[in-house]
Symmetry: C2
């Protein structure tokens, strides 16, 4: 830290992304990427003629992408705002709806960035512990009088609340925004997007990183009442008006229009998840009922950190969080069937006897 | 504005980007884009095989891009941080080095985002008026005891300070960061990058949007002492760790490695600027001595806003700022020779008699 850093940032605890090794071949099951490439429509849309147009700024209004997203989700374009990854959407939302006097409520075990953003913006956080089995008790979120963020399905547990449970939370907090982070929703949970026209305090955030195979393009969507979206645009146009690059706008649009590929690939992930869960259960692992593109698993036979390191030595990267309550667990991204067979073989070798 | 927006943002005045018409053919001389496509090396690097890899996150450390940038600029990778456009670099810098108790000093006529960011982050701004001829008097920046940002060349005036004048400002403010925004430096001004190893309080920000034909890719670089860059990375990893997408990282690296194309295209812009300036002077326009890829020009024969609208009707977009001191002026991006000939013809038609 230099002597020029503002003292108000001295206590920052930046987020630690999962390892992104650039130089070695791992079976990479640690950052919830898709094992499948983007839709061929994306490859067709991001072509050499479009690369040449990079000399021109991107459309700050993102009109074509918004049109495709609106058609896909049954919304109007002014009910949607794209972000440079859903992380940016979530950051904009916290900037818009929280401040030093307006806290954020979230779970103790959830996506790590929420607390990092609170720290950066000096937003007090109101931590609501998950139940013993990692589930969320919706009643604990009623009448909070605070902005709320719920990852649904939650990370890294994979557990999902029903949209009707979230509807209860929306009704019980009419004076506060409830942000539902649906990064993993396409793998078997129910989306709250259909509730948007009924609740002015609902903001749904989705990402193209998981079910749309575009982690490296950086694209997310915030969806909600047009007034909420206008608030987010006030922040965007005060921070980085050209936040999405041209090629990502094209990739996102093409992905939204290829419904067949989206449906086929998310189904493959869910099938592979079911197979992998069964194999792990056969071997005595304890698993949550994950509705995400990862499993959250522990075994009595080896401590989480040790198993993470042993798998890494065998060329398989998974994610281990050295955090209270979850240090025994591994978060294992669902890869191809072949990758998951390799994982199961490696576990058999490590845990045999 | 929704009733949920935090009251501390009620006074926001978001930035208004230049028009980006998506549906009509204008001669577009309003947002300082390059009239030339990116280097063929960029088109080669952003290929279909790389689009397929979008399923993977980008490298949050941006290692390959940093290596190329370090080689180009004679720095080490830890003295550089890429941003999602130089706007993001500048925002990170203001977040790191200013706060409610640590003001920012900048000119009255300069890049509009500085005051927008101050507004967003409640940073008091200390405004230092330009001289009557729009030049900056460096002595006015001595001993300020505030973080300083200077666009060099300045926008929208195009006027440049010498690196030695900026060196004087650095020496006279050893306890504060001096940010030099070199968005336009490649078109004939002197860069402060060679001063980085001598001044720990110098942060230089450059962009790939103008001289590298990558406005639509969104890429900028902040360069300075490794401790300053570490501060910026604390902000980045607390806000959006994967801030640069995969294809932009590749485009930036390829652009940095094709020095010949960079030199040839910036020279063409400077030549066309000289031709255009001469033609406008012949017609009685008053011009600043622009070292940027635009001219800043006024005529007694038509008010700035009227001339902007008249040119737009003729299919030529330029930028007019309806702001104190500069409302008489137009900012005209340098296009191809053919585009500038069309501009001159249009001016002759509009101003004849």
């Amino acid at each position: 830290m230099s002597r020029y850093l503002t003292p108000t940032l001295a206590g920052l605890s930046p987020y630690t992304p999962g390892e992104q090794p650039q130089d070695q071949q791992y079976i990479k099951l640690n950052t919830n990427e898709s094992p499948y490439p983007p839709s061929p429509a994306v490859t067709a849309a991001v072509n050499a003629a479009e690369v040449e147009k990079l000399r021109l700024y991107s459309d700050p209004a993102c009109a074509r992408l918004l049109k495709a997203a609106a058609e896909y989700h049954g919304l109007t374009p002014d009910e949607i705002m794209p972000g440079n990854g859903s992380d940016e959407n979530l950051f904009f939302a916290l900037r818009a709806f929280c401040d030093e006097a307006h806290p954020l409520a979230c779970a103790d075990v959830t996506y790590g960035c929420y607390s990092v953003w609170c720290n950066l913006m000096h937003i007090p956080s109101h931590i609501i512990p998950l139940e013993e089995d990692f589930s969320i008790d919706p009643a604990r979120y009623h009448g909070l009088n605070k902005t709320i963020v719920i990852a649904n399905p939650n990370a890294p547990t994979g557990l999902a609340l029903s949209p009707s449970a979230i509807e209860g939370i929306l009704q019980a907090n009419p004076d506060n925004v409830v942000i539902v982070d649906e990064a993993y929703v396409d793998f078997g949970a129910g989306s709250c997007v259909p509730l948007i026209h009924r609740y002015k305090n609902l903001l749904v955030v989705q990402t193209f990183s998981k079910s749309r195979q575009l982690a490296g393009a950086r694209l997310g969507l915030a969806m909600g009442d047009a007034e909420l979206i206008a608030d987010l645009n006030r922040v965007k146009f005060s921070l980085n008006p050209y936040n999405i690059n041209r090629l990502t706008l094209l990739a996102g649009e093409a992905s939204l229009r290829d419904k067949g590929y989206f449906e086929a690939t998310r189904q493959k992930i869910m099938d592979t998840r079911a197979w992998t869960a069964k194999e792990l259960e056969k071997r005595g692992f304890a698993l949550t009922d994950s509705r995400a593109n990862f499993l959250f698993a522990r075994t009595d036979r080896m401590e989480g950190g040790a198993l993470y390191r042993a798998l890494k030595e065998k060329g398989i990267l998974v994610r281990h969080f050295d955090s209270p309550r979850i240090a025994e667990y591994l978060r294992i991204t669902i890869g191809t069937p072949e990758q998951m067979e390799a994982l199961v073989r490696a576990l058999d070798e490590l845990l045999e006897g």
